[in-house]
Symmetry: C2
Subunit: 221 residues, 2 copies
Amino acid sequence: MSQTDTVAKALRSRGPRKGTTSAQTRLDLLNAASEIMIAKDSIDFSLSEICLRTGLSAPLIQYHFGNKEGLLLAIIERDAARAVAQLDALAAMPTSADRKLRMHIEGFVKAYFRTPYLNRLLHYMMASGDDVAKRVSDVFVKPITVFQKNLLDQGVAEGIFRPIDPMCFYFIIVGACEHMFARRCALQHVFGVDAITDEIRRDYGQAIMDLVLQGISTGRS
Amino acid sequence: MSQTDTVAKALRSRGPRKGTTSAQTRLDLLNAASEIMIAKDSIDFSLSEICLRTGLSAPLIQYHFGNKEGLLLAIIERDAARAVAQLDALAAMPTSADRKLRMHIEGFVKAYFRTPYLNRLLHYMMASGDDVAKRVSDVFVKPITVFQKNLLDQGVAEGIFRPIDPMCFYFIIVGACEHMFARRCALQHVFGVDAITDEIRRDYGQAIMDLVLQGISTGRS
């Protein structure tokens, strides 16, 4: 069965939620999968590893998520829901556009730092055929682009940002924020950095903020 | 056999070059593989597709490259050699650092535009165990970081660039330049762009150049 087929099957067969206990089981399974991906630094895990970690049975996983792809999609949806809630809160803050942009970049870098599997997971799911790619785009990518478009408009209205194409801006920001985390091998072999410490993460976020904020500024503040 | 094992085997068993005819055969095989990856927009191809395209036999591929991983590594080495030659020429130009940086960014975006498989290929090979990751880092990543370090030093010495950490700069630039090409799915589903035209590629490169050049400038020119 192709990756597309298995993911499509997962989309169809995911079980419904059933009260608190069932919701908690679902949450435990999602958390276990996240923890395993972080510990292994890979999205390559088996359902039996989840069973071992949670003490829950494989049919329970099947009931909640259909299969591994369904579980991965549920993780993306959960992480997306958190990210979108943060974006909504940031958008609603009575703060200038440059401060919001700094917080947006910092939040992005922190998200890649905390969930290093996110990047590979998104890549994997986006390659899983049109239905899944569209769904991932809808829950994860579109809310970010809407937030950024409004932020850029706010900055231009405040006279502190020069106009920039929102599509180009999206790819520049996301590409810059995720790249250090996506290429840990280069980090190790070229720069001799074995692990991304909290200090490196902070310095990287700061470098992106400084470059982007100065790069988009009209010189007025 | 794991991906690591097959690549390690490929590294050991690649055949030597033998005069012009053999070198030409090798070149034909590399070009055929590139063309297939561009046509399929995937690095997922079989050796029999190469045989079909070139009229050459599978044992010839084995003689030159050992196996598919050896062929992929040879493509990276060929593309790296071209890129490094361009970087060397750019470094040697009697031109100001800001103009060189513009040309560097433009070259990067053009490379991802022309060889969209490059990104996925590098990812795949970097995940193929330490030996291969180190080799790919040595031929592809290190020369870029050395070039950028010298360019940043030149700009600071000319008084036109503020200091920036070269490691952060590397990840920001490469991440920004490749991201639109690495996430064609998002481009399609979120922005409704089915194919990256020459115009989109040019606009994207220009947006990166403007943001980075203004972002790193001291305000003097």
